[in-house]
Symmetry: C2
Subunit: 364 residues, 2 copies
């Protein structure tokens, strides 16, 4: 079937671009001796995780136990890092159950209450949980605030039965600068934080086998963080408007394109297409507008409703007709996969494969 047979809206993946993205990321990380642990929350599709593993990834990253379960069922990798504080009996029981089916399922933690709950689960299930200390190196989200706090928490957790310290992690790996949560607050960088943490862990005689960084833009500067043992990135498999805005990809590196139909041209300068926030989402973060139209690069998308995308053609000499199909690179690919039940892999104008988004809906 050609892509012309795909009813719109449809989230398509250019398979050749995706393959190239997987290859380039792996090559760069391998060249610098950093293990690649792709974050599967971007696609939630086991077949794509297997492609990343086949290209040389050392394991995968998941964000929810539900994702770990789906990817374990599919046998994608037996080395999984779950980068979320897991808390509560139901979730820690699920964690231990799926851990038994994997060679290694490590978690992160940033406080003693989570550590205590994990330890109790490990004892309850006669297992052992490897853990990394999550460090806030500027994001303003989860994470201990200082290297000393990382050391103190690691020491406290190491005293609990069933927990095994493996290292430290952050998201995202970043230079010093403003915090995302509070742009007015200047935040420390990952390099200084990790350096000091490794110094004091060393002083305390505690080996730190894993130093884990994250984020797509930082892939290309991992060499600036010589202590890194592994890197976790999700977006880079597809790329999106945010990646392009960060200067680390071009439109030609963007594999995800939302195929849509222009359904209205209410004015000379306005077009409306047949999808909105229920496919593209409202994510804007670092960019303005709601996506990039490949066929109309000078047009903008100032407004999305749930099922409508409003295009401003004021700066676009070319204007689409009603009925015309357009392709939109979304602002943030990781949330778009999660909106639909299937992604369509296309190559050379042909529909090559339909991937069910197997871990969509795993909100827990």
């Amino acid at each position: 079937m050609t892509t012309a047979g795909l009813e719109t809206p449809a989230v398509t993946i250019d398979v050749a671009i995706m393959e190239d993205n997987i290859r380039r990321v792996q090559a760069h990380l391998s060249k610098h001796g950093v293990k690649n642990r792709p974050h599967i929350k971007t696609h939630k599709i086991p077949a794509l995780g297997k492609m990343q593993m086949a290209a040389g990834a050392s394991g995968i990253t998941c964000q929810k136990i539900g994702e770990v379960e789906v990817f374990a069922d599919a046998g994608v990798s037996d080395d999984v890092l779950l980068t979320f504080n897991i808390i509560g009996k139901e979730k820690t029981d699920r964690l231990m159950a799926v851990a038994k089916r994997l060679k290694r399922l490590a978690v992160v933690l940033d406080n003693d209450i989570v550590a205590k709950g994990l330890s109790e689960a490990a004892v309850r299930h006669q297992g052992e949980i490897p853990f990394l200390i999550e460090c806030d190196t500027g994001m303003g989200r989860n994470g201990v605030q200082t290297p000393q706090a990382a050391l103190d928490l690691a020491k406290a957790a190491m005293k609990l039965r069933g927990l095994r310290f493996e290292g430290i992690m952050t998201f995202p790996l970043k230079p010093p600068g403003a915090s995302l949560a509070n742009p007015k607050m200047s935040a420390p960088g990952s390099l200084a934080f990790f350096k000091e943490a490794l110094r004091i862990f060393g002083q305390a005689g505690i080996p730190v086998p894993v130093v884990s960084g994250g984020g797509t833009p930082a892939i290309w500067t991992v060499q600036d963080y010589p202590m890194l043992t592994e890197h976790r990135a999700g977006t880079c498999i597809f790329n999106d408007v945010m990646t392009v805005a960060s200067g680390t990809a071009t439109w030609d590196n963007c594999a995800m394109r939302v195929r849509a139909t222009v359904v209205s041209r209410p004015t000379g300068e306005r077009a409306v297409f047949d999808c909105g926030t229920k496919v593209l989402t409202s994510d804007t973060y670092t960019v303005t507008g709601h996506g990039h139209i490949m066929e109309y690069p000078d047009a903008t998308i100032p407004l999305l409703s749930e099922e409508h995308g409003v295009v401003d053609l004021g700066n676009s000499r070319k204007k689409p007709e009603v009925g015309e199909v357009i392709h939109i690179v979304p602002n943030h690919c990781c949330v778009v996969s999660n909106m639909v039940d299937e992604l369509y892999g296309v190559r050379g104008g042909k529909l090559e494969v339909t991937w069910p988004v197997a871990a969509r809906g795993t909100v827990r």
Copy 2:
């Protein structure tokens, strides 16, 4: 089961509040002689559509053919308005197929290309399609721009085989003011537009049996639009931060609450809970922040990641502990239902019912 057994995150509906919302909306519209045609895109759950019908609704509104199909399968109502320009052979074929299972399936249109496609489908399937002309009365989205354009398009479409003119519609019903798409542009109001349209349709001898308004805030002022025959609103079944911000609901009228667990307290003024844009979405539209925490009304949610919600406790005297469960009223309830496979109906602290979100994923 008590709600304490619900793993987080979970999207809960307070059934008593929802029942009261359904009742109050129906009572107000009935009092003013305006038919109620609830928009089911907010919940996508046939059981809730049936409750709205039982309360006195005259039919339902859908936004996608997929929603019409799911609600037709469930037998919710045989009187459906699909408020979207339907274009292309696949979609118009599906439209005609589902129309045969209903007493009335009307659509909207705002241009002649859509009209022509609908006419061809009606001829192909030997059916008839009732249609309303969509009017842009200030939203800056779909719709003809002037009453004269509405009349011209209606006349042109009435000449096409298989189409039957039924009336005019807009979204949202609004007073004169700024356009959402372009806040700098002052937009005409719905009242003046409809008045003039009815005058010139009358002059042309064309009866306009249906005048359809839309939007939750406007429910409470339908009496200011004496020509309205029906009103379409979605959000009002649950309400959300945007409805409260519009001044037409209180927190106690908000039936949807996202149950979440605090997983981190990285600093004295920061908490992080276990859901983000993959449940709450990034929708902000008219409000700031990312939701209202019922237990911590003075806290704000400045940042959501995909699976983290960052809380600023700077202005909140009370602070939550790690492990504590909180309940968040989302900014925009209509997009939150669409993120999950189930909504949980709770009453008096007990889980009363689990509703599959049957029409989730109907992106086409």
